[in-house]
Amino acid sequence: MTEIKRKKLDSATVISIVIVLALYVAVFVAEQFIPATSMLFTVIKKGATYALVAVSMNLLNGFTGIFSLGQAGFMLIGAYVYGIFTIPVISRMDVYQYYNGGLVQFTLPVFVAMLLSGLAAAFLALLIGLPVLRLKSDYLAIATLGFAEIIRALFQWDKLGPITNGSNMLRLFPNFNDFNIRNADGQVVVYLSTLVPLLIAGVCIFVIILLINSTYGRALRAIKDDEIAAEAMGIRLASHKRLAFCISSFFAGVGGAMLAMYQTTVQAKSFTTAMTYEILLIVVIGGIGSVTGSCLSSFLFVACSEWWLRFLDQKQVIGDFEVPLLRNGFRLVVFSIIIMIVVLFFRQGIMGRKELPDLIRQLQGKKVKGGASK
């Protein structure tokens, strides 16, 4: 007990918290002065969304050792629940034009709807978990992947159209730009459209960190290391796994709602297994079992794919020399090769299993506890 208290108060943790808070302040200040169309904000918004989903996946794959590939399905649930309950009543006729305005004829506040997104995803996880969590590693992976596909088909089903709008997209719900504070003339007074998503993701990730560092989190890690030994130590496997699965899905659902806000539209057919793979690769690049790593690599991944590597998709001329190979899609090729190199040669990813405070401790010259041991 005393050791835990000491750990919470040590300087490295305090410095980490200060760094994170400083980043928030920096984003807030930057948002007021840099034009809102800057790529920087796109990257932060999408990065925050992906960070949350990646951390939630890491909770399963990295900390509990449940290799689930259902993330896209839970995000889909989250995105749809958010969309369905927040479209303003006056816009519903436009959105549900083929379904006579749809069945749902009320609107929930944004944050209530987000919470509901998470809860819906968690509830579904509870149901799916009953048959699926009994399965072993790769069977579990393929079964969760299968569930994501079933959900995707279900949401496109014409008969559910009055609720889900069938295979048409949901739109016109509040998005990140609605967080900006406007004056009576509709002019933006305070820009918050980047800070708020970052805050939502931050709060959610903070909750996950608290969870990981609780006794419950240690039980999960024991399960990851050796299921049978963990069970022998008195950890109830089934209930712990189920709870981890539900919590991870809850945050994936919230992440889905954020993705809906980022994209401003939702359509079931975009939540493919490719999306799950992308998030899995983010987790791997960041380091399986490191929250800091997942966050860092989300922002890196989004920044590279949306911004920094964009130049690879266009013709570049240096002097008289036209750089060969550069054309649409080359960015993704380079990107895949980088990913393959990480997967094959740097299996630790960026952070291994270390977190930000561990890094600071290392800089301070202290011994890192439980760092990259594998």
Binding site: N61, F67, P131, V132, R134, L135, S137, D138, Y139, A141, I142, A143, L145, G146, F147, E149, I150, R152, A153, L154, Q156, W157, D158, K159, S167, I228, T272, T273, A274, Y277, E278, L280, L281, V284, I288, R327, N328, G329, F330, L332, V333, F335, S336, I337, I339, M340, V343, L344, R347
Partner: protein, 307 residues
Amino acid sequence: MWNTVFPYLLSGISVGGQYALIAIGYTMVYGILRLINFAHGDVFMVAGIIMVYMAASGVPLWLCIPLVLVLTALIGFVIERVAYKPLRSAPRMSAMISAIGVSYTLQNLVLYVTGGLNQIYPTIPWISDSVTIFGATTKMVTVITPILTIVLVVALVALINHTKIGMAMRAVSRDFETSQLMGIKINRVISTTFVIGTFLAGVASVLYFTNYTTVIQTSGAMPGLKAFVAAVFGGIGSIPGAVVGAFIIGIAENIIKGLDIILFKAGIIGGPMGLATFSDAFTFALLIIILAVKPTGLFGEKITDKV
């Protein structure tokens, strides 16, 4: 009634045969390496793309097909050597992640080469011709696929049961370490497995894309997943199991595609229900049911884990 169902059944058998050829690749690799080769479906798609480009560059079609098959097998060989061999002693999850990485890479490479546009698959004479059997008009390929599949599977089973390399494969899939100690060249066996698997996927791609006529970078994902489900359904590691599973899934999928019309004509439902949306989802529902009821699949061996 029969006239309504028969065309769907026919295309179901045909697609089932194509899935079977892909599924064999999954099941053989899983049997030996315990690895879900997520890139297998994409290799199948790449075979289609190679065919498109080769035919467009003026190589005569009769030469294209063998060349595509050889190239596909070569790709399978290279993928194994580059992406899976270095991870042989790593945890199983690493190899699976590497497979997902390869899948991502192949899709992006094809996206780059094709510019993300649908490519029209060349029309192969004879197998693209229309035929009428029992009153249903279809392409020749529909009829050939199941026959070719059966012939190839029989040949493969003979290879596994009666040749030296086949015996080595069976030994390796039974016990990796021990067979290594007995002097079996593991790397050769694994490479052979990949070559056979991707070769069959190449054959499947010729048949499949002759039927569907367009190829795009995501074309391989769904058939790949379904073939994998077929392999699990039949009992992973078992070749006859994979084939039976693939035919069941192919037929079920196509019947569901036509279920609206079939039920309507039979007078069970009054209007369209949009059930065709579930043709893909049904495959996965089947997977979850079989995993819950009989986790080892129809023909799978029972495995007991020791502490």
